[in-house]
């Protein structure tokens, strides 16, 4: 493929007098996992939400390339068209599972929702697809009728992933997907995400403040500070040979076990 899947150009988002991110540009290529790192308040989550269409940017462009070669400019999409894209071609994994799940319906219904929104009309098929996806995220399919609130934090996060991937999206946005989890649970989730990315050829933009997570998942990194890109490059380049003073400080602050 000769075109990037996603092209962000000069994106700027302000909240009143505060500039959350300013002049951000990057490309995401098919099959690539791009990490966006930086401390809290660096604007990385706002950037992700603007790129994913959950917030509207003040300036700049976000272009998405469809399989048929068409290029879609996000800001020109009607809201229903954007929503359709968000629940078919795209997925968004929130840090807090309750933001991405319906806590008052069963796990099966959570996974089935995207299918039903995309005109699946056969209960048996929806259910067996939900079972398949529970297994894919290593949840016992006997838990299909349980409410997400009966799940552990790690299971909820895996359920959120299943709920999102069921529509076979091409592009997945992740906002600190391992953020609130115990380290032991984190490791398993990281491995799962890696395998799913490879198995389904997903392209991913992942926001994290955890450089270890970024190292294990992403092939390319963007370092943000005060709403701007400080540095970018291959993950090993940024982490082993950081150029800017800030990146050097960030990398040297990683805790050793």
């Amino acid at each position: 493929m000769t075109a990037p899947l996603l092209s962000v150009g000069n994106l700027t988002k302000r909240f009143g007098a505060t500039t959350a991110c300013s002049g951000i540009s990057f490309d995401l290529w098919p099959g690539e996992v791009l990490g966006i790192v930086g401390e809290s308040g660096s604007g990385k989550t706002t950037l992700l939400q603007c790129v994913a269409g959950l917030q509207s940017a003040d300036e700049g462009s976000v272009a998405y390339h469809l399989d048929d070669g068409h290029r879609i400019e996000l800001s020109t999409l009607s809201e229903p068209a954007l929503r359709r894209m968000q629940r078919t071609e795209w997925a968004f994994i929130h840090q807090h599972p309750h933001l991405g799940l319906r806590m008052n319906v069963s796990a099966g219904a959570n996974i089935g929702e995207r299918l039903m929104a995309n005109q699946w009309q056969h209960y048996g098929n929806i259910r067996s697809e939900a079972e398949k996806w529970l297994q894919a995220v290593e949840i016992d399919s006997s838990r299909i009728d349980d409410l997400p609130s009966t799940y552990s934090g790690g299971m909820q996060q895996r359920l959120q992933i299943a709920r999102n991937l069921v529509s076979k999206p091409k592009l997945v946005f992740m906002d600190e997907p391992t953020g609130g989890l115990d380290v032991s649970v984190q490791a398993r989730l990281l491995d799962l995400i890696r395998n799913l990315v490879r198995k389904f050829g997903l392209s991913v933009v992942i926001v994290t403040h955890d450089l270890a997570v970024a190292r294990l998942l992403s092939s390319r990194l963007i370092v943000m500070r005060n709403g701007e890109i400080i540095e970018e490059g291959l993950t090993d380049q940024v982490l082993e040979d950081p150029q800017s003073a800030y990146s050097q400080l960030l990398v040297s602050s990683i805790l050793q076990v």
């Binding site: 319906v105 069963s106 089935g112 039903m116 929104a117 056969h122 209960y123 299909i144 009728d145």
Partner: protein, 290 residues
């Protein structure tokens, strides 16, 4: 069966209680609702001399469409003689002086709480439903800002999520009333808490059907001959309730039955919920016997 002729209304009230400006406002909402079948039209619901939940939405709709020549029937769960039905009839006799009846056939306007009469309705009739919660998506999505968008964008996956939950918990679609319908292939609508038994009667109905939700300030409508389809799954198709019993009073085996407890020893019987339908059938049987 009882019919009371028109009389002189109480001179202290405007015709049918509401002032003319209010009726105009509600009629405008009704026209819009009829033009967009199944779409919930907001309206400036008024305080009525009865509490919310007693049919204030239905009463306002009825008040706005009544003419002095109309014959009004009011039913509550199919019965003409319950407190709510009697009070509303009395209210309109006093404020509008119109004729009232319990006979489905002679009524021109029928206000109902949670039933559709068993007798088929005609083009010259209007059915007015009292609606507590007009929003079918609210059970899963409490944000009104969000449900409005879902209607606008035909984003109805959530409606099937509710049915899915039903089947996963009960093995079948256990929703028996307020069973969601799709109107003319477009809007998903709550048919008010009527039993799903009545859903097929809404489809292609000859009469105009109007829905009023007073507390929620919404009006919606089904024009005559509108396509109304109950939502379902391919492998769990929509079905109406069936009874093994017949009506103990009139012997009907095709009407919606209420279970009546007759003593404290487990005695029970099943009778038609539509009292007018049932009593007509009883008279018919007596005459046949004589």
């Amino acid at each position: 069966m009882s019919t009371e002729p028109a009389s002189v209304p109480d001179p202290g009230y405007n015709f049918a209680y509401l002032n003319e400006q209010t009726k105009k406002m509600i009629r405008r909402a009704l026209l819009k609702a009829i033009a967009i079948p199944g779409y919930q039209v907001p309206f400036a619901s008024r305080e009525m001399p009865m509490p919310y939940g007693w049919g204030t939405g239905g009463v306002q709709v009825t008040a706005s469409i009544l003419t002095p020549d109309d014959v009004l029937k009011v039913i509550d769960q199919g019965a003409d003689d319950t407190t709510n039905a009697v009070s509303i009839r009395k209210f309109f006799r006093r404020t509008a002086g119109i004729a009232t009846t319990s006979d489905t056939e002679t009524a021109t306007v029928i206000q109902t709480r949670h039933r559709i009469p068993e007798e088929p309705l005609s083009e010259s009739q209007i059915l007015v439903f009292q609606v507590p919660i007009p929003e079918p998506l609210r059970f899963l999505e409490p944000r009104e800002t969000e449900t409005r968008k879902m209607h606008a964008y035909e984003d109805y996956g959530l409606m099937h999520v509710k049915l899915y939950e039903d089947i996963s918990q009960n093995g079948h679609i256990a929703t028996t009333y307020a069973y969601p319908v799709r109107v003319e292939g477009r809007y998903v609508m709550d048919p008010s808490p009527t039993p799903k038994f009545d859903n097929p009667k809404m489809d292609n109905c000859e009469a105009l059907q109007l829905f009023g939700a007073g507390r929620e300030k919404r009006i919606y409508a089904l024009p005559p001959y509108t396509r109304v389809v109950s939502l379902d799954f391919e492998d769990h198709p929509f079905e109406i309730q069936k009874w093994t019993e017949k009506c103990s009073l009139c012997g009907a085996d095709d009407s919606f039955l209420d279970e009546v407890i007759t003593d404290d020893k487990g005695g029970r019987m099943f009778v038609c919920s539509d009292t007018d339908f049932c009593s007509k059938r009883q008279i018919g049987r007596q005459e046949a016997a004589e």
